[in-house]
Amino acid sequence: MIENRPFITFLAHLTLVLGVLLVAFPIWITFVASTHDAVRMTHVPLPLLPGDQFFVNLKTALTESIGGAGSLPVGLMMLNSLIMAMMIAVGKISISLLSAYAIVYFRFPFRMGFFWMIFVTLMLPVEVRILPTFEVVANLSMLNSYWGLTIPLIASATATFMFRQVFLTIPDEMLEAARVDGAGPMRFFWDILIPLSRTNIAALFVILFIYGWNQYLWPLLITTDKEMFTVVMGIKQMLETAEQAPDWHLIMMTALLAMIPPIFVVLSMQKMFVQGLTETDK
């Protein structure tokens, strides 16, 4: 601190508290709505303080199908989301580690060609090429499957770039020493590179897990089978049926459940995540 001005410090805290209130208010309202019953949620004004129906709503949301006949209970939708998010995060990290290793540590023909091929994918978010990608997935008959949900999202230049950056900072002596000790390329990769990039892998995992969990447009197109719905899509579906009879207490409970896993991942790995985010994206 450069100077001690109590008034400005007070002002800073005040602004931050206001900021926190602004950011947290929608989440608070969601929580409050998820603790009341259906009757209370149709009386204006809606409550600002929690009620006592939290566990009743939780049980309903997790086990019963809400919003439209035959839709999956939220518990199963969350399982779908979890499988999708894990497949995307683990898949992306694995293939990026391998390709970054090849590009940084091997001299081979077309090396730069491959690099550029990966680089262009950085510029093509799934949203801009949805129709033709959808056709490819349909032709490969991967609609309504976990493969169709995840593989098209797995290739990404971002992770490859990050690992490339990390590998470039690893001293050359590491490889020389490993060679002297008789380690082959794969041994070097497993026993030296992977352990050295552990924190980066963890940070990337947080980012990619959230990315995967929050996917919306792609699952919306790829899945028509209700068994495959993810929780993020489920909310949208409930909102649609809510036009006539809004079950806001259950919708908000679902929203809360959809938020918990990614928020938990972010907060529990906050330090690595913040480091990974601010140091790799640039």
Binding site: I2, A12, H13, L16, V23, P26, I27, I29, T30, A33, M41, V44, L46, L48, I95, L98, S99, A102, I103, F106, R107, P109, R111, M117, V120, T121, M123, L124, E127, V128, I130, L131, E135, V136, L140, P152, I154, L168, L175, P185, I210, W213, N214, Y216, I235, K236, L239, I251, M252, A255, A258, M259, I263, V265, V266, L267, Q270, V274, L277, K282
Partner: protein, 293 residues
């Protein structure tokens, strides 16, 4: 690029890049070239015959007043979101820099919206502003303002901007905090000794020095508003009322999957790709130009 110490040519590197290259070719390069190809085709409504029409699809778009309106709307939406989300984040980051106690607590409380899915964010805001039940709609009603984003296009746009901004503040905040903290304290102290007050120090030292971060965030925020807000809009307004919140990405989706105008949708995709490529190039250009202290 290549390590000074490296392995010589063998089959192994090809095997290592194979998975990524395979996925890239099948799900990126091929669909993108398909989009490019389709954008030159005109298909009849039943998909029975196609005709190669050169740039007609693009010409149709450019001459189509609706598309230009969508373009302007997207620009307005993106800049509003970027401006609001960045200003709020910068104010909060500057405040965090001034305090000693509680930094970690504030940061923890401020970052969670980053983890919230756009659709969920949309659901939260549509609930708070629901014309009959919403808590804010009720509050506005008591002061005599009749809120209904389902009928009023301007209100719908406001709501979509608010929800998108809310989700993006956390991300910007983290970057601004990191940028401000990386400024050497000696610079700030020197200015303080010369008699510059906190506000003056902010505008003449901190703000200019974080320009690279600001610029980086501007590009990231615009890309976010262009593409990732699809979920927000789909949940809140579905592009309505009367197309008042239909942005470019929404139109690609709508024309392609609902309107089944494949050529037109592909042409829009190509235009979007061009926009993304330009933004990526700008971003890389500026990142290389790092500020030296």
């Amino acid at each position: 690029m290549l390590k000074r110490v490296h392995f010589g040519p063998s089959v192994l590197p090809f095997l290592l890049v194979a998975p990524q290259i395979a996925v890239t070719l099948v799900f990126f390069i091929w669909p993108a070239s398909q989009a490019l190809y389709q954008s030159f085709l005109l298909e009849d409504a039943f998909g029975l015959s196609t005709e190669f029409v050169w740039f007609d699809n693009f010409a149709d778009l450019i001459n189509d007043g609706i598309y230009l309106d969508t373009f302007k709307r997207t620009a307005f939406f993106s800049f509003s979101v970027a401006f609001l989300a960045m200003s709020i984040a910068l104010i909060l980051a500057a405040m965090v820099d001034r305090i000693i106690k509680g930094v970690y607590v504030y940061r923890t409380l401020l970052i969670w919206p980053y983890a919230v899915a756009p659709v969920v964010a949309g659901a939260l805001w549509v609930f708070m502003f629901d014309p009959t039940l919403g808590i804010f709609a009720y509050a506005l009603n008591t002061i005599g303002y009749d809120w209904n984003h389902k009928l009023n296009g301007g209100e719908a746009m406001t709501l979509v901007i608010l929800a998108s901004t809310w989700k993006q503040i956390a991300y910007n905040f983290l970057f601004f905090v990191a940028a401000i903290q990386s400024i050497p304290k000696s610079l700030i102290e020197a200015a303080a000794i010369d008699g510059a007050g906190p506000l003056k120090r902010f505008w003449t030292i901190i703000f200019p020095l974080i320009t690279p971060t600001t610029f980086f965030l501007l590009v990231v925020n615009i890309v976010y508003a262009f593409f990732e807000t699809f979920g927000v809009i789909h949940a809140i307004t579905q592009g309505g009322p009367a197309k008042a919140t239909e942005i470019l990405v929404y139109k690609v989706f709508y024309d392609g999957f609902v309107g089944l105008d494949l050529g037109g949708s592909a042409a829009q995709s190509v235009i979007l790709m061009a926009i993304v490529i330009v933004m990526t190039v700008i971003q890389f250009r500026y990142i290389e130009r790092k500020v030296e202290y």
